[in-house]
Symmetry: D2
Subunit: 338 residues, 4 copies
């Protein structure tokens, strides 16, 4: 079976496993006060031009903690209608008491002009105090469809957010695959300058688990307690520290990302060459193509991939994902099956 | 430095590291649908005489998910005043909307008679509908003071709970150290028969992270969605599955527990022999002794341990903890320092 | 100034004021255990063919209490995109931890077929456990646009709900104006038979405040405690009991409703006669018409009404509302101004 | 039957009924934007030396809204162990996500020295970030036992709160009975100067319903939306405005309070004269005496009163309450029965 199901179907990059083994017997305090958490935070902070770094376990956890920490209780978050928090997180944001307001998605992206118009209409409505006040904008970079915000688009969003006193939060569950894409025209420092908070995904970029949340202007008061309050504080916080320390040693994080992008581009070329239409034109590690029922059923025998959604004409949008673990020979084998 | 600070100051038992390495490149689906989660759940379920098993990441997470899943929204949990959920979990239960009612602790234990009296008084109070209805009793086995409920005590609690329609939930963050203590007169099957839900702690018993929640009578409807909703669902669920599969292969979990108990008893003997008074008489891997200010300051130079609480007479209750990683020579070295 | 702003711009019907005065010095216990609450509940229950009746203070309060009492914590409510809980209740449902899923509105109404299709697609989605499970359908009768569900439409919705194990909840903030409309083909008993819970609005139908929540199959366990928990329990519960007792004595509630409908129809006829287009064809006490900017500005000098929304062509959808307090001479005076 | 059950067993003071009748047909906008809300707020603000005034419906509602509006989400409220929010509000504060920490009660009062010691110990605890951070102190003036904080005691509490960055909130459900007590040495301006927020109870001091929340330093951002979000915003906000406008016209509020105090003192004198021991020495409208079982059973035949709690010796602490509606002849009749 060829596995292109997702970027979390194997364990972790061998260097992370090595780091876990090497550090295993060193005694260190718990709850993130170990030397690796400190070291990893320093490396990431330096990379981003400063700020506080906190390690959490997964994406939904990071999303709900950041959003509920930054919103006042009468406020809501804004997301694209395809945004992960609006679609696939089981009402996690609502469980913390906050509404998620959705705006149209353009291949997964919010449009700064539409956001501005929404906010103008909101405050023009005489009854706006009967509605939750928008307090934060959630985006994903890359988006759920693998697409990217350009530097200009993100700058426009950031300026719109500042105009309306909205915090800007970027979900970077696959951030490496975004920043290493040849189509990307921004650096992690740009992102840090334009957002109030974002995270650097580990789980989907080579780690066993873990996301590094970066607050370029400093973490909110009481964040440690909120992390504990949500059951998100690991006794062995080192598990995250060791992994991120390894990921940000010798550019491993970027190397993993580049490898996956390379394989994804090869995959895309294979599909295009064989005449398969794309569902979305993704420059990152998730590739979306359209299959007929017959193509889908035939491929399913040998390849593990994800059915994204059934299309109205009976065809299917499907997703193929690459990662650090994707072998070039598997991409070739897949191509041979097309 | 001799490390007796806690049972989460090192990584994981070498066999778990091996299992992670061996399974690393095997492709499997995410979210706990991998083969190891399934295998580990089957082993644990068989051990407990049946029931559903779910893997979570840490103790507070397990506590808040189980309690909020089992309570109706007008209900409260009852705990000993020293119970972890009442003291050191940052208001996690309250954040899910539920009050924690505290009853007196007897070396960390709830008393079935006192619980019964409390419930009788509750329903005798004409205004009881103005108070949250007790819906669940939370205990720890072993308790936060390392003490144990005997089989008779737990049976009495269980019967009291059934009489008043209270669910009984045992926090087993250190369950192995409880069940392997020579002082323990119950098995894991007894526990499963007497409780509605309990968990088998991994983080403090040799794993990098993870707790196995056991619902002997079946998991509540929607539990998977609740886990996701709280940010507790790991994309790489295998991380927990692989570890628990290793822990419950060849009795590793019990072996780790026995080792730690052996070291704890040696430690206790050393203190007693040297004339140090005990703060609590613990038969498990946490040992509580009383130090004078001078003793404390002298020991702190060479030994890492935990100050539990300052006593009124100027002395200190302190805690020494053993684990799979405790070396017999370290216990001897500590003894030499007393 | 002619007042057509809403149905809550005056105090209460004079007979309610009388009832408050007459009962004023009678001593009775608090918290809804008074004789009037009991009497009013019995009258309403008899009218509905049985069931439990509870009195609450306002519409949002009733909505959030009923929805959070009926949903399990991993569940969500479904509403029309124009539904009050989705639009104008400040995120009240989300504050209780539940997502509101919106479906298309057809002049304010949900379509049973679309609901069925949504549910079918939900369970067909392999990742549906990563989304909150729909648990309840919220509708308004009449809707926020003054329109009505026919008996056939409500029966279809009710059957769809039962098929998918969804509770059906009807917000009846203006129920009297719905049931007394000549266009209405259902009785309150029909409503009780088709819904799991609904409420009979008082605030907008002649009372100072208060809504009577009817649970045809019995109130959920712990509902009294939940009411208290949300700050919705009045010490002087009699305030609601006295008012509903008066409203359901000698058909006052229906008489008030009929009066308002009569005035609304006169108003609609006046607009139609004068050639004003309708924004929605409402058979109840809220009338929606379209005004040009000039018409709007001219009328605003002498008449208080509500701007519903600006239209794309520069005109405005506006709302005129009648109530027990609307005087026929005011409707004539308004007509003269058109 | 002589009614001393509570201060909410009758309707409202006749002058309030008159005000409701007089204002009944005046058309005004909803949601508290009417002229009476404005007028009442101005009167109360002037009385308190400035600040924002908001009208809510009841005590629990006021408590939960104020506390959840002022706390950050990782914070907890501190209350006396007898405090209403800790005992009789069905877990309302916890439902908003916040723990209630209890300190010893001294006839219902918190002690500033004990609060200070608690806070010192909290921050001295190395694990305090694993506990919710105290953010607000809740007191009642008068307390649940009818007792009063002296000006010196409240000043000490206020200073302690400022030292530890705690908001100070006074529940004044029976504030008039406190301030009008001959034993009271403070004014409403003193209270406004010493607290961050307090409320002036209406429900128990002559109104049908309603509490006036005073924020001497201004209401928190978004408070209106939070009120709506909790279902606490009345469409006919005038109901509260008219009542508070009447209560603060011609000193009605203070007159009602003085009347009730006079009757309470007569009651207390009667009990004392007849040799009944007091359970608490209350200078306000709630009187607590101790009855034997026989006395209790005999009195219950003719008098409605409240059993506070059974005492260990078989006797009962009971409560007699006076209000604007208490008739001097009823007090005499009760005396004759003793």
């Amino acid at each position: 079976m060829l596995y292109f199901l997702s970027d979390y179907t194997e364990g972790c990059h061998p260097k992370i496993l090595e780091a876990l083994a090497e550090s295993n017997l060193v005694s260190q305090p718990g709850y993130g006060e170990d030397l690796w958490c400190q070291r990893a935070a320093e490396k990431i902070s330096a990379l981003c031009g400063g700020g506080d770094v906190r390690f959490l376990n997964g994406g939904t956890q990071a999303n709900l903690l950041v959003i509920s920490a930054l919103l006042q209780r009468h406020q809501a978050a804004i997301a694209a209608e395809t945004g992960h928090i609006a679609v696939h997180e089981a009402g996690a944001i609502e469980f913390t008491g906050h509404k998620v307001i959705t705006l149209p998605a353009h291949e997964g992206r919010l449009d700064a002009g539409e956001l501005d118009a929404y906010m103008r209409a909101f405050y023009a409505d005489a009854t706006h105090e009967h509605m939750p006040e928008p307090g934060l904008v959630y985006i994903s970079q890359p988006t759920e469809l693998g697409t990217l915000y350009s530097r200009a688009e993100l700058t426009a969003l950031s300026e719109t957010c500042r105009r309306w006193q909205l915090k800007l939060f970027a979900d970077g569950a696959r951030l490496g695959y975004g920043l290493m894409s040849p189509a990307c025209d921004m650096t992690i420092r740009d992102l840090a300058a334009l957002c109030d908070v974002f995270y650097i995904g580990g789980t989907k970029v080579g780690a066993l688990c873990g996301e590094a949340v970066v607050f370029p202007k400093g973490a909110p008061r009481g964040f440690f307690t909120m992390v504990k309050q949500q059951g998100a504080l690991l006794a062995k916080g080192r598990v995250l520290g060791v992994q991120f320390d390894a990921l940000f040693t010798d550019d491993l994080y970027w190397e993993i990302s580049r490898h996956a992008i390379g394989q994804a581009m090869a995959l895309k070329a294979a599909f295009t060459e064989k005449g398969y239409p794309l569902f979305a034109d993704s420059p990152t590690n998730q590739q979306f193509v359209i299959l007929t029922k017959e193509q889908k059923e035939r491929l399913e025998k040998d390849v593990a991939f994800n059915v994204w959604e059934p299309l109205d004409d009976g065809r299917f949008a499907v997703r193929f994902v690459t990662s650090w673990a994707t072998k070039p020979e598997d991409v070739q084998a897949l191509k041979a099956l097309l």
